[in-house]
Amino acid sequence: MSPDDPAMTVPAIDADFLLRLDEIIAAHKGREGPLLPILHDIQAEWGHVPEAAQPVIAEALGMTRAEVHGVVSFYHDFRDHPHGRHVLRLCRAEACQSMGAEALADEVRAALGIDWHETTPDGRLTLEPVFCLGLCACAPSAQMGDRLLGRADLAKVQKLVAEAGA
């Protein structure tokens, strides 16, 4: 890619970024319905879907930028800015509610000093709601990375957070 390639003029895109982005796109381009797999890989790589990636994807897949943006903004999973180093997800769905998820969420928010979708000031932890982890027979439930928590309470959540160094 030459320096006067139009994509290179987009701010905040460096050569490494574009190289990695091209690899991701190339890995999926031949598949039927490649966009979601591409976006998942981008999010895994950078923790969010950088806006600068969208026109590159659009051109590669023959879509408009609006179409790509429409997809990114439709799904709860895709973020337009990075989250904290760890993401704590608390289930808010009915089965967890029946076992006190709402009170637990209040306690956790108070203990962490952040609300839903917020990140601690040190950037370590983001709190997100989730609607069902399929752990409905051991509610309330929580998730952080690979770790899952059933019959969660404040002490267990705090232990989970502490063990992750978050």
Binding site: P37, V71, L133
Partner: protein, 508 residues
Amino acid sequence: MRVWVPLDAAARALGADEVAEALSREFTVTRNGTRGMVWLEPLVEVERDGVRYGYGPVMPEDAASVAGAIRTGSEHPLALGPVEELPWMKAQTRLTFARVGVIDPLSVDEYEAHGGLAGLRRAISVGPEKIVDEVTESGLRGRGGAGFPTGIKWKTVAGAKAVRKYIVCNADEGDSGSFADRMLMEGDPLVLIEGMTIAGIAVGAVQGYVYIRSEYPDAIRLMQAAIVRARQAGILGQSVLGSGHAYDMEVRVGAGAYVCGEETSLLNSLEGKRGIVRAKPPIPALEGFLGRPTVVNNVISLASVPWILTHGAAEYARLGIGRSKGTIPVQLAGNVRYGGLFEVAFGMSLRQIIEEIGGGTASGRPVKAAQVGGPLGSYIPHWNFDLPFGYEELASKEGLLGHAGITVFDDTADMLKLARFAMEFCAVESCGKCTPCRIGSIRGVETIDRIAQGDETGIAILTDLCNTMKWGSLCALGGFAPFPVMSALTHFPEDFSGRREPRREAAE
């Protein structure tokens, strides 16, 4: 000595990984799926003379003493005796879930030794037409919730002319209170592969996709690993078990949109579009993924097919009531003493399921209501629990079988709050295509907030709004969100009136 410790996400959430690690220092530990008795998780099993004995729930701090009991055969307070003899296991008819919790989920040899692949072999020998007949005669209906006869769907796809057809498995199990799909994909992923392969042969599809929600990372990992094993074993590929039929499949991961559990929205998502609902017709069976004929079936529907092909349609249809044939994996969730998955023929009453099998609430308080069929299902009050568990039987009481998840609530539940949540959830998850759902749900939240502040004129408006959403929405999200709201309002009007007064705690 062989020891089993489940790898199921629910068992992991209760400490199974730590228990497995501790026991693996001394024994050969196999990670199995869960037996479905979630209140006993982590459930450790050990095999002696061909019988599997259980210990549970084994918390990480119990691992050392349980290891001692396994080693010496001595008594232990957590010992449960032979697992197959436990009342919860004996009372079930486990057809679809026969191997879940029993085998190593990724072992093709164990799968086959426990009856796996017999359905596929028979399917290959009888051919496409007979497969479709068999599935039709079994009376199998869509286990995702809509209850559409599976055989009829397959026949439509089989009869469609196209260069390429698809099998799409809907594993976007977003309903709270439901975990059957997750449990099956984690505990016996090969049976889903076998079912989808049979579907592929039946309709002439050579490619399949399992669309799994991103909230299920364990299921995604296990399905992907199982697909690799199935390819190695010749189950998937250019010639399925040497039959000459080509069929392969892959996993696709959702991105956190509840509405993608609706089949047309799922197809759009799979194509890489916004998960917007499509108007029907055209039906996906004729114009589905990429505009081509597509079978879209739920995990449990597809995973039930190998048993049907192995044992015959008549054996399956013998079970159940009315037009609800075969077995249903009932999922007991929420505030219930014995939560888990219980596969049984249709026809048990809700009371038997919740009170006898589930043992009432976990909190020990009286049951107030149960939400059956997920966030779009009705709240069924405890005085209507004599209803038999079947598609038409529940529908006769404005209920929804859905994905057969039952979420139990005790008498402290505030039905107004739950009704508000149903509207809020619909507003957050609406795809935005149709107005009754997109706008109606937001107005619903606002109206319920008015009622919560004591303005009871809102009740008539809410009722009218629910009616508009029910009849005017394009899909089940906006169309069914009124069910939890109206059932809460109809059966528990006291939770909606007099809200200006401070709310008295129930039974105080």
